[in-house]
Symmetry: C2
Subunit: 218 residues, 2 copies
């Protein structure tokens, strides 16, 4: 299996970074191929702008969506976007790993999604969900949160799949990915929680059972 891990955390000594190593090492141990995109290490540019589209005529009005599509089709996206798209096309499985910040992903990862999932590459008129150009790939989230699992219930913070609805449905499923359930490390800020051990175990089980896990969006 070819696995792309898109990772966003500013701290190398973090729990998230340790979990990234667990995932990477275990995938390699099981003879999978792994590529990691470390967005902080790469100083990933977060904002879509006219520099992304090398065929965009400066001074004319920018239409972020359709200009992304025409730049993709003309091979005129900026180098960083092209490289990211090549990695995504290469992968059978994409893992998005990040600490949950404000009930979503860190801005740098949103900027990866905004800039890499261009029109014509990830969707086009009538080519969304199961008909999307990237369809068939699997994707899931590995995330960490500060609180215990019982906070993520309806009427409190919301169930995880409510919180991740724009990402898992609106983004991953829209782009044609089969979305496997998110893996969440709860109580990540407490040293007593064994979050690292528990989450590492779940990650390894997920890798072992990757072919048998039922998607939440298929």
């Amino acid at each position: 299996m070819k696995v792309l891990i898109v990772f966003a955390h500013p701290e190398k000594q973090s729990l998230n970074h340790s979990l990234l190593e667990v995932t990477t090492n275990y995938l390699k141990e099981k003879n999978h191929e792994v590529k990691v995109v470390d967005l902080y290490a790469e100083h990933w540019k977060a904002g879509i702008d006219q520099d992304d589209f090398l065929n965009h005529d400066r001074g004319t009005r920018l239409y972020a969506m359709r200009d992304s599509g025409s730049a993709f089709s003309a091979g005129m996206l900026s180098e960083d976007i092209k490289e990211a798209q090549a990695k995504l096309e290469w992968a059978d499985l994409i893992i998005f790993q990040f600490p949950m910040w404000w009930y979503s992903m860190p801005a740098l990862m949103k900027g990866w999604i905004d800039r890499v999932l261009t029109q014509n590459f990830a969707y086009a008129g009538g080519k969304e969900f199961k008909n999307a150009p990237l369809a068939g790939r699997k994707a899931f989230i590995i995330s960490t949160v500060g609180v215990t699992e019982d906070y993520y219930t309806k009427g409190k913070l919301g169930e995880i799949d409510e919180v991740f609805f724009p990402i898992q449905h609106g983004t991953f499923s829209y782009a044609g990915f089969k979305v496997l359930p998110a893996i969440i490390g709860y109580n990540a800020d407490s040293r007593k929680s064994n979050c690292f051990e528990i989450t590492s175990k779940i990650i390894k089980e997920r890798i072992d059972n990757i072919d048998n896990v039922k998607p939440i969006y298929d």
Copy 2:
């Protein structure tokens, strides 16, 4: 009324920018005070990192949340964050205006939320929702989407309040804001849709009725 508009769009000639002008001009016409934060114009830095916290000892492990809280309490946040927080504290109403990208806000605006809503400023242990330090302010979204309103229904793209759940509930309500319904300009990419005229009218009505609109999260 003191109104802060946080705005993210890369194009000055865009529909979004025209709607920003409508909002700003109408608020002034009605004798409200307005401040605009234009995130693209400001080249807003999107990613939280150790440069945000001037009291952070380089080389030691960064804990994004608790370090943001201690930097806030010590007056040691970076200048851009301090300025943004001052504007937010000043405001009675905060409008977040952006094109919907991947069923959420553009990365630069997520970066504003990630970096400005620090611990102790926007929340603290037990100080969330109605008890949050910023409680009592009103907030709402003005956004534009490419498709017609009927796409935003359950089972398709999801109802708007499902899509915006992490923002309206997880962020605005968590930070203590009374959240008014989002204003959405549908069919924004079609010249025939009159999106500008329709949305401008709704914005003006919202401003006229601001005291009487029932919050979706109170």
